[in-house]
């Protein structure tokens, strides 16, 4: 810890406890494991003091104190069990229950309801209210997905405060006053936020329910598994709630470093694809032009035979593999291992943005800071990025940064949900994100806005390359306001700490070929690098976009970004894999789809969906196409063999999110009968090919990754813990809070990471395993 926090000592129910100055009594009790019931208070929002449930008795205070609003003081003596406290809490519960319906048996919240639970623990046994309860029309919709039962509402205002102060979307309001008070929708601002589902989760009673969950199950029938969301690249921590064979919802599993306790509606509810009745339950082989069901044995044998035949007849270079940004690290690793070590080709790639390394070994796709670091930024620039729609929980963290005073600039072609909250909005013609980045570099290098010696050097290096890219030219081709760009450049250059984020998709625009490196240079030249709340990076597309790269689903790099031609890496990996690895780079994704290969192995990808007519023709002209997927995708429909795979909720593994955090995914349900996890299928194919693969579990594969990939050195399932670990793992690369950051280097290279690992070696040569947070 950088600074010693000032601690305050107090006792609660006779137990001494020390907590940081300014803590609430509630938090101190939490630390002791003493429950103080709360309704209106939520640890992620300011205290309100409305529900009057958290009464405690504090010595020398004449009245009962509310634990959620009272800060601790030295020597404070608190009781949570005195007769006065018991009467106060029972009184509050009696008040809450006078108008609360006794419909627990048909209420979706029953079984996980704070009102039910606290009434059992702190409530009066009965009610003295013998009059008529209030009745309302029930339920009424507050949004497309959420319904409100006003009778059940206890007016804790959690939902309203969330929409107003956390999401800053102003959807819900309190209407009327006194006993007539109720939650309503702001007539001027419909409740259509992508964060809306959080209010359902926060509602302590069954007042707000999700339409897709109503009357579907009871909470005690659910199997609840801690895992990670498989939707976008943020990697929010979730609890997967499964009933028998269906995923019914995901709830937030607070990880302050990533999701801050929130979850977006996509992550929460967009799970129908897992429960899809059209999912494949058996392998298929094309016979007589039709895909026909076959046994796994037959399918695996057939795949091996055909792959071997192509390799024997046309050579290993005629085989290619397209991997996935959705499958686990373990599966991505095995996939490229199968192609490289098993089949002898570097023809392996996946659909991804353009991140060409402009200097040897640089990793421009690595976000140099972190999601949590956004809170410390003085400036945040979104360059062609729309996190609200694509990485929603990053958008929510940006809103938190705005509340902390960050100046945010939204530089996007389209209107953005953040527009009304930010310091500046710049619009331009779609497709020109790269043009803007280079115009910013032009301003910075020609107006002398570089900071520091390193920045000045880099500015000198780049000046010529962007000399023609003036803001005026950008104005001409991209329809952007040149003066606005100049102002933005000055803001970035003068920032205490600026984070510049762009969307992975922007690198695929015609102008985006060097966007990644240009944005990195922008940060480096202006000194916005290597300190908290500063940096640059892409917002990647999918849950394991970064993991796919890390694991070497690229034609020119081995796992951990070592070039395929690197002799040392060859020797090390080849030794570990007991194989001779091809040294020349393989074919890229587009090359493979342009007739470069005769046999194509597709795992968890659907290239046919976005393919050009020429690419479709090339797919159809393949000798052999094998597809592993959940359903009969556009690509699978063209396949020779289709192997049914399972979703992330049905298998163990790990994902790496857009800010380099490697996190555990846990099996939350039985895999669909007849389908197998991608890693199991790969092992089956390898064994059919005669390779001696003996992996029995993803844990075993991850341990091998920990041994063979320096970037992931020492990783095991155990070391990832409950909240994951961010690379680089070397102890020297951590902030005082224990967060891993990439600091002190103008660029990030795998050599640097390897050196970090070397530094982390114990004298005996044994690697120090990465530490999970909180360990």
């Amino acid at each position: 810890m950088a600074e010693q926090e000032e601690l305050v000592n107090l006792t609660i129910d006779g137990q001494p406890v020390s907590v940081p100055k300014g803590s609430l009594i509630w938090a101190a009790a939490q630390k002791l494991g003493i429950e103080i019931p709360i309704y209106c208070y939520h640890p992620k929002m300011d205290p309100l003091g409305a529900c009057r449930m958290c009464f405690v008795e504090v010595e020398k205070m004449p009245k009962l104190a509310t634990a959620c609003t009272t800060t601790v003081a030295e020597g404070m003596v608190v009781s949570t069990t005195s007769a006065k406290v018991k009467k106060g809490r029972a009184g509050t519960l009696e008040f809450l229950l006078i108008n609360h319906p006794l419909d627990c048996p048909i209420c979706d919240k029953g079984g996980e309801c704070d009102l039910q639970d606290f009434t059992l623990r702190y409530g009066p046994g009965g009610s003295r209210f013998d009059l008529n309860k209030r009745h309302f029309e029930k339920p009424i919709p507050v949004s497309e997905n959420i319904l409100l039962d006003r009778e059940r509402c206890i007016a804790c205002q959690r939902c309203v405060r969330f929409t107003q102060t956390v999401a800053m979307e102003n959807g819900l309001v309190m209407e009327q006053r006194g006993f007539r008070i109720e939650v309503g929708v702001d007539p001027a601002a419909p409740f259509d936020s992508i964060f809306s589902g959080n209010v359902v989760e926060m509602c302590p009673v069954g007042a707000l329910t999700a339409k897709n969950y109503r009357f579907v199950t009871r909470p005690w029938e659910l199997k609840k598994t801690p895992s990670v969301c498989g939707n976008c690249s943020v990697g929010c921590n979730v609890r997967v709630d499964v009933r028998v064979d269906k995923v019914l919802r995901q709830y937030s599993r607070t990880n302050d470093a990533i999701d801050d306790g929130w979850l977006c509606d996509r992550g929460r509810w967009d799970l129908d694809w897992i429960n899809d009745t059209e999912r494949l339950r058996t392998p298929l082989i094309r016979r007589d032009g039709q895909l026909q069901p076959v046994s796994w044995d037959e399918a695996l044998r057939f795949v091996a035979e055909r792959l071997r035949a192509v390799r024997d007849q046309r050579g290993a270079r005629a085989i290619g593999g397209i991997g996935s940004t959705h499958t686990t690290n373990e599966e991505a690793y095995l996939f490229q291992k199968l192609l490289r070590a098993g089949l002898g080709t570097n023809n392996v790639d996946h659909a991804h943005g353009r991140f060409p390394a402009t200097e040897p070994g640089a990793l421009p796709w690595a976000w140099s800071d972190s999601i949590a670091g956004l809170e410390q930024a003085s400036h945040i620039v979104l360059l062609g990025a729309d996190p609200y729609h694509r990485q929603p929980i990053v958008d929510l963290r940006i809103r938190k940064a705005i509340r902390a005073g960050a100046r945010v600039y939204v530089v996007t072609p389209e209107a953005n949900r953040l527009d009304r909250l930010v310091a500046g909005v710049i619009r331009y013609t779609a497709g020109h994100t790269g043009t803007l980045a280079r115009a910013l570099l032009n301003i910075i290098t020609s107006d002398g806005l570089a900071r520091g010696e390193q920045g000045a050097q880099r500015a000198a290096d780049r000046r010529a390359s962007v000399a023609q890219e003036t803001p005026e030219r950008a104005a001409q081709v991209a329809g952007v306001d040149a003066d606005a760009l100049r102002e933005l450049a000055r803001e970035i250059a003068g920032a205490k700490g600026a984070v510049i984020l762009y969307d992975e998709a922007a690198t695929l625009e015609p102008s985006g070929a060097t966007l990644a490196a240009d944005v990195l240079d922008l940060a480096l030249i202006t000194g916005n690098f290597g300190k908290p709340g500063a940096g640059a990076g892409p917002l990647l597309a999918d849950n394991n976009s970064l993991g796919a790269r890390d694991m070497g689903l690229l034609p020119d790099t081995l796992p951990g970004y070592r070039p395929v031609g690197d002799a040392a890496a060859h020797a090390a990996l080849g030794g570990a894999w007991l194989a001779t690895l091809p040294a020349e780079p393989g074919l890229s994704y587009t090359e493979m789809l342009s007739g470069g290969v005769k046999a194509l192995y597709v795992m968890g990808a659907n290239p046919a969906r976005d393919a050009t007519p020429e690419q479709l023709a090339a797919l159809d002209a393949l000798d052999f196409l094998v597809v592993q997927d959940l359903t009969l995708t556009e690509t699978a429909q063209r396949a020779t063999v289709v192997l049914p795979a399972v979703a992330y909720t049905e298998k163990d593994g790990s994902f790496t999110n857009t800010e380099r955090c490697v996190q555990l995914v846990r099996r939350a349900m039985q895999p669909l009968g007849g389908a197998k996890a991608d890693w199991e299928i790969l092992v089956g194919v390898a064994r059919a090919l005669g390779l001696g693969w003996t992996y029995l579990s993803p844990a075993e594969i991850l341990s091998e990754i920990g041994r063979t990939v320096p970037l992931y050195a020492g990783v095991t399932r155990r070391s990832l813990g409950a909240e994951g670990v961010r690379w680089p793992f070397a102890p020297g690369e951590r902030t005082p809070e224990g967060r891993a950051t990439i600091t002190g280097s103008p660029s990030i290279t795998w050599q640097m990471l390897a050196e970090g690992v070397a530094r982390a070696q114990k004298p005996g040569g044994e690697l120090i395993a990465p530490r999970g947070r909180g360990e």
């Binding site: 008040f95 007016a155 309190m174 006053r177 006194g178 006993f179 008070i181």
Partner: protein, 456 residues
């Protein structure tokens, strides 16, 4: 100085302005006093000139402390002391707010000041702002008082036009802006922190304290918030001096205040009397005694939020300490007189309905408790109650008292708990006879014939 203080606080004190001086109500009956010309003809804004010329702000604070002026809104907190809680410096601007959200049932003094003599209020605001080094003051007028609001708005306009508000007031170099804001009709906005929420454009919910307004108030700045009458007293204190003002009243409750006399008396109205004047003087001498020669049954001496007094307590002096000793509060000065024909349960029901309707709904005990209390009182009043309801009322009050977020919930319990204590027999009569003990409800059994309020 010490001697003179002694002489004016002894029993046989010399009273410089006669026994019943009019500090706050002076000139109130002069025709046209609400216009700046007339107000100035009668010496208006002379106190302001004196304050700006002869006093440094600190001296003015000291003068107000010396005068013994205490808040007239209800709590009776020493005004000078409140001002001195403002931090000497702060990064954010400081504000003065005049709480003109007078809504306490039985209280109508601030309304009279605003409607009849708004310039006295405005003059007080400028003096108070100067004393507290505030450069932007807000006058928050209760929404329902439309005429009062227009009067104050016009007075502020006139004062601006006369150079009494704005830049360099009367050549003193002191700048002040005054904004008049109208509420939207909520009793809770008389609570200072809810008032600030409302001023800032949000729902009138009381805020968490601490931080107190003097530290973090309006728009996050240090804020002093005073009642209309308190602020309107400032010109008189400056004009006559703290010693003259302090010569009236008792040792701890100095000066005069306006008592709002209402109920079953012959001459209801606003009376400015020195603090410590016995209730009997107000009711019998100024109020002309009981209407129709009826017997006195009970008095609510400080607005509907305080406990009842009985006829045998009529000689209680009306100052903060004596009222507290008698088990009630001086409150807002709203003296409500009830005669022998008043059904206590009915009166309490009516008052409790007010709190139910005005509860902001933020905290559970107040929101649900006031609702439940009304339901029980309603059925008792209409003859359908049970004897156990009486103790239940008391216990509900106990579950509210000291447990609500702000004082509104506590206030709702006063009349109930005190009436059950003093008039339990009358409650029991309602249960047993299914009728009121006195008044129109006593002659017919209403249980069957009267529609409960909740069903209307």
């Amino acid at each position: 100085m010490a001697d003179s203080v002694d002489t004016i606080t002894t029993e046989n004190k010399t009273l410089p302005l006669g026994p019943y001086p009019r500090f706050v109500t002076r000139n109130m009956d002069v025709p046209g006093i609400d216009r700046i010309e007339v107000y100035r003809e009668h010496g208006g804004y002379a106190a302001l000139a004196k304050a700006l010329q002869s006093f440094q702000p600190e001296q003015l604070v000291e003068e107000v402390k010396q005068s013994g002026l205490r808040g007239r809104g209800g709590a009776g907190f020493a005004t000078g002391m409140k001002w001195s809680f403002l931090p000497p410096t702060s990064p954010k601007p400081r504000y003065l707010i005049v709480n003109c959200d007078e809504s306490e049932p039985g209280t109508f003094k601030d309304r009279m000041i605003m409607e009849l003599n708004p310039h006295m209020l405005v003059e007080g605001v400028i003096i108070g702002s100067y004393a507290t080094k505030v450069h932007h003051a807000f006058i928050y007028v209760r929404g329902e008082l439309a005429f009062a609001g227009r009067q104050v708005e016009r007075a502020v306009r006139e004062a601006y036009a006369a150079g009494l508000i704005g830049k360099n007031i009367l050549g003193s170099g002191y700048d002040l802006e005054i904004t008049v804001s109208r509420g939207a009709g909520a009793y809770i906005c008389g609570e200072e922190s809810a008032l600030m929420e409302s001023l800032e454009g949000r729902r009138g919910y009381p805020r968490l304290k601490p931080p107190f307004p003097a530290v973090v108030g309006l728009y996050g700045g240090p804020t002093v918030i005073n009642n209309t009458e308190t602020i309107s007293t400032l010109p008189a204190i400056v004009e006559h001096g703290a010693a003259v003002y302090g010569a009236y009243g008792t040792e701890k409750s100095k000066g005069t205040r306006i008592y709002c006399l209402s109920g079953h008396v012959n001459r209801p109205g606003n009376y400015e009397l020195p603090l410590g004047t016995p209730l009997r003087t107000l009711v019998e001498d100024f109020g002309g005694g009981m209407r129709g020669g009826k017997q006195l049954k009970a008095i609510i001496p400080g607005g509907s939020s305080v406990p009842f007094l009985l006829p045998n307590q009529l000689d209680t002096p009306m100052d903060f300490e004596s009222m507290a000793a008698a088990g009630t509060m001086l409150g807002s000065g709203g003296v409500i007189v009830l005669d022998e024909d008043t059904c206590i349960v009915g009166a309490v029901l009516r008052m409790t309905e007010f709190y139910r309707d005005e509860s902001c709904g933020k905290c559970t005990p107040c929101r649900e408790g006031t609702f439940w209390l009304v339901q029980l009182l309603e059925r008792l009043e209409h003859g359908g109650g049970k004897e156990s309801d009486i103790d239940l009322l008391n216990d509900i009050c106990d579950n509210m008292l000291g447990k609500c977020f702000c004082p509104l919930g506590d206030a709702a319990t006063s009349s109930i708990m005190s009436s059950i204590k003093l008039f339990r027999d009358e409650y029991i009569h309602h249960v047993r006879a299914h009728a009121c003990l006195v008044g129109p409800g006593a002659t017919r059994a209403h249980a069957a014939s009267v529609t409960p309020v909740s069903a209307r």
